[in-house]
Amino acid sequence: MNYPVWEPFMLGGGLVIGIIAILHVFVSHFAVGGGLFLPLTERKAYRENNPALLEYVKSHSKFFVLVVLVFGAVSGVGIWWSIALVNPEATATLIHVFVWGWAIEWVFFIVEIAAAFIYYYGWDRLDPKTHLLVGWIYFGAAWASLLVINGILTFMLTPGRWIKTQTFASAYFNPGMLPSLVVRTAVCIALAGVYALITSSAVADVALRNQVIAYAAKWLLAGTLIIPFAGIWYISTIPALAREISMGGAPAVTIFAGLSIFFSALVMAFTYFGPHQRPRHFNMVFAFLLAVLALSTTAVTEWVREAVRKPYIIYGYMYSNGIRVSDVERTREVGLLKSARWVRHHEVDPQALERTGEEVYRVQCASCHTVDGYNSIRFAVKGWSWAMIDYQLAHLSSLKGFMPGFVGTDAERQALGAWLASLNPVPTNIAIEPASSAVRGQATDATGEGASQP
């Protein structure tokens, strides 16, 4: 409402964030888990006096630097870029609450990056003890950066006491923070295994290759064993509505939640029967398939985590369309178009009912919907008359619990309905006009125009 709305055509803002975020999560958790894998495996090589294993760790560290420092770092900035574009109001709020949290995370990033380069360039320059210490410094800083950002992420779903106190401590130490930290740490360990399986399957020396593959599989199994327990703990802390949505309330979300469990189980089974039991038969193709499966798990899980937060972006404080709960009453009285800054019509224009309605859509609905692409609104209202649409809009939050209620005047709601009705051919044999139209008289126009649309 406060900002111009960018509509990334078929994708919609949510998917733009989603694509960048999922790829980032898949790499950034490796940045932490891999940070544990490197010094532990290096230490193992020293203890076993195994120069071949040490060579493997060296080559793995090069892969690590190329993936983590470039893709991981830049995609992290990418998330920030995309959330600020798609939901500037929420981003601004988060930055006001958490700027020192982010500043602390920034310090850890600086240490992390410096340590990663010195670890990577230091193989031939540092004595083993110092080199190992630098590896531990890297891991410490990387995990600490997860510690910070994790609290900010869970804040959005479980802001807890912050709604009342508005203090940093109550915002950061929110109910979901600790269980989510355990889940994410376990994911880091599992992903360290996933990536290590890729690099280990490229090792030429067969004995070493089998040893490292079985070793990497252990990491993956250890991580995936912790995840379900920590996951149940995490789910116990989330709001009741969010749980309902993921367990039957919204079929799509439930299916994705189910897929998340199914994919995780597949990863675990493949890892156990594949690289863990039969490292000799494991190869690069299998490693990539496992990585794709792990990425799919990440994708559906992150998608569910985002979806269950609906209808909010900051639970109980701000709706997913950027409207604050506290602004709803005033906006209903004043009108959405009068409150919105980036519209061409500041009140419902009966002469341009649909165009006004489209502006209402853009301000209020476009943060989740697109017209024809992801979460298509044309498809959502297909076969609905204007009367039906208006009824749905008037009772949106009770009919569809994961959507925010409509915010605006009756005339604005009907204008939105008129535009939505115009998106599809008019259904026949049903009442097409809202029961009590605030913009009666234009009804025929609106639906009449709609009839000519494809």
Binding site: N2, Y3, P4, V5, W6, E7, P8, V16, I20, L66, V70, F71, A73, V74, V77, G78, W80, W81, A84, L85, P88, E89, T91, A92, T93, I95, H96, V97, V99, W100, G101, A103, I104, W106, V107, F108, F109, I110, V111, I113, A114, A115, F117, I118, Y121, G122, W123, D124, R125, L126, D127, T130, V134, Q166, F168, A169, R324, R341, W342, R344
Partner: protein, 357 residues
């Protein structure tokens, strides 16, 4: 038409504006130092890579300097995060609006940076395998980073003109509105690019000193080459800087002339740059210190120009403040501890004894 500006967030600022302004400018200077070496570095290495096809000195210099670029890229990005955080805190409603208007271009920055970053690694890791094609890889990287610089200049300049926001909105499609490319914007971009070439020249001269023992001739030549870039670009900068200064709207220039601090900063910035120019052939260290002073003075002046631009529309000092002092103190302590850790790691890495047998 009244300017349309989004309302600031109703959550109080977590620290007084002066502190946030200080951190904004301070971290921006840190970002600039890394960014200048990176942007100027890829420009100079593009030139050297092409010359290096027939000149072993250029070839060797480009190869060696390229090893410094990946860490510099990482630090440019990371050090840039902090000022962007503080600019969003102080001027978010302006910054988000101009960003949203040009959303596609702004989002492209992420991909351009990533491509450029991989370009740098490609050049560095496969320098010999690439052969003559290496020059094209470096040139492509330079073009990618120049595009990033252009998009940044557009966004950071557009956000200073809230009076134009609504007109831009009405005349275009949100996401594709890059803002007007005026002579001011081009002068501003040129100012930054030329500064980057100068400071990267100085950086290369400093870096060459590290080759003194194993290849003294290359070290001497590298120093001369870097200093030539530094002096040439700084001389050009006096013209570009004047162009930039006189592209500023009259009222902004007048308000700066009336501000003793602004005049002082401008004069000392120019003086320090002159001093750097004179010192460079004799002492790189003295020239570097002078340029650090010049960059810092100019960064503060840049902030004053922003304040002057926005005075009619918005003043962050009018916002409510509720200081989060405990967590701020934790940040300061961790920052000092973090810098000490980085310092220690650099020490063990660069100490002469640091060579495994």
């Amino acid at each position: 038409m009244n300017p349309v500006i989004p309302a600031p967030v109703p959550v109080p600022l977590p620290a007084p504006p002066w502190l946030l302004e200080f951190l904004l400018v301070f971290t921006f200077v840190l970002h600039l130092l890394a960014m200048d070496f990176l942007l100027g570095g890829v420009i100079i290495l593009s030139v050297s890579s092409f010359l290096g096809r027939h000149d072993s000195g250029h070839h060797e210099l480009a190869r060696r300097v390229s090893h410094a670029l990946p860490p510099v890229t990482a630090f440019t990005i990371t050090l840039g995060v902090a000022p962007l955080l503080f600019v969003q805190l102080l001027y978010g409603q302006l910054f988000y609006t101009s960003s949203d208007l040009m959303a596609w271009y702004w989002l492209a920055v992420v991909f351009l940076v990533m491509l450029g970053y991989y370009g740098i690694y490609w050049y560095q890791m496969q320098h010999d395998e690439l052969g003559t094609r290496a020059a094209w890889v470096m040139l492509s990287t330079a073009i990618l980073f120049m595009l990033v610089a252009f998009i940044f200049t557009q966004n950071i300049t557009t956000m200073l003109h809230p009076q134009d926001f609504y007109r831009l909105f009405l005349n275009g499609q949100v996401g594709t509105i890059l803002g007007s490319v005026t002579s001011l914007n081009i002068a501003r971009l040129a100012h930054f690019v030329v500064a980057a070439a100068a400071l990267a020249g100085l950086g290369i001269a400093l870096l060459s000193a590290r080759w003194r023992t194993e290849s003294p001739e290359l070290a001497r030549w590298g120093r001369r080459y870097g200093v030539t870039w530094f002096m040439g670009a700084t001389l050009v900068q006096f013209l570009v800087g004047l162009w930039f200064l006189f592209s500023l709207p009259v009222e902004i220039r007048q308000s700066l002339v009336g501000d003793k601090l602004a005049v002082g900063l401008l004069v000392s910035g120019i003086f320090l740059a002159l001093l750097g120019l004179l010192m460079a052939p004799r002492s790189l260290l003295a020239a570097s210190v002078a340029m650090l002073g010049a960059v810092s003075a100019m960064a503060v002046l840049r902030h004053l120009v922003r304040v002057a631009y926005l005075r009619p529309y918005f003043d962050p000092h009018s916002l409510a403040v509720r200081g989060q002092w405990v967590v701020f103190s934790i940040f300061v302590v961790l920052l000092l501890a973090g810098l000490a850790t980085v310092g220690w790691m650099l020490y063990v890495f660069y100490r002469p004894a640091a060579r495994r047998a």
